[in-house]
Symmetry: C2
Subunit: 144 residues, 2 copies
DNA sequence: TATAATTGGTAGCTTTTGTAACTTATAAGC
DNA sequence: GCTTATAAGTTACAAAAGCTACCAATTATA
């Protein structure tokens, strides 16, 4: 147990993943938080609508793997910021189509570029081969 | 923007890391939660004390990179479960040395083994080379 | 065509986290 | 020695997440 080769916290994959996720997320958070006062949940919803176009809250739940209450609150917050509009569906009045306003699109475009360059910066710390393996392993673990 | 090769959420490293971390953590959580009613913060504190021996709350903060209020609450919860004891230091009466009780050690030993086999199971999904690269990249990103 | 079951979305309550202020103890400046 | 600063740890209050129950619209079923 006090053996030098013994299993350590730094060898425990869930711990490693959490530390890496936390650090990178906190760093990127600066952008959407400082500029737009957004939360992580809001940034995710914004990304989905900006990147993939109009969709319902349920579709966002599935794609982003977020609980529906989380999405509901993020949508309300984005609407409050005038970044998002809702329009009731004609075929099923329970659901509403969500879309971005001009301001929402502008925020998305801005953050989308930041995300790209942030990702590039992260990848640049490793060789292309390492980065490719890292991405593949993470996708596999995340079941994406 | 609707280009097939365009930057996608699945290409965004912080998102990938979060999804992978969340999935693996939720899975392992089953063990400490179901058997001992522990929270993640408590499991981390238990791990530190079990693996590295007695130390103060401040040392746990540094090693585990947890905020001192989080540690304080986890310590209180572990004490409540009779897994942990405190003893005031003679040289500095502000700090107290934290250690595990017999029950705490038993819980640690159990979970330590589970953690090892869990990690092994995760690693087995990849080749040894891939696993090594994955670990190195994560350590680098997490600045460990 | 009633009635039960399901679905999209919201609201309320509880648990957990984050932040700042506070308490007590030590260290530093003069 | 006496003030001031800093550190360890706790507490209190606010923000956020999780969970359950709920409402209203739709679909399935008897």
């Amino acid at each position: 147990m006090s053996d030098k080769n013994a299993f350590d916290l730094r060898d425990f994959m869930p711990y490693l993943l959490n530390q890496a996720a936390e650090i990178s997320s906190l760093e990127f958070q600066q952008y959407y938080r400082a500029r737009y006062g957004m939360l992580r949940t809001e940034w995710r919803v914004l990304f989905h609508l900006g990147r993939y176009g109009e969709m319902t809250a349920r579709e966002i739940c599935e794609r982003a793997r977020m609980h529906k209450t989380k999405v509901s609150r993020a949508v309300a917050a984005l609407q409050e910021k005038r970044f998002l509009t809702r329009s009731q569906s004609d075929t099923d009045r329970r659901q509403e189509q969500l879309g971005l306003t001009a301001a929402g699109k502008a925020a998305f475009d801005d953050l989308y570029l930041e995300a790209q360059s942030f990702d590039k910066k992260m990848a640049s710390r490793f060789t292309p081969e390492e980065t490719a393996i890292l991405r593949r392993c993470l996708m596999e673990i995340a079941r994406l």
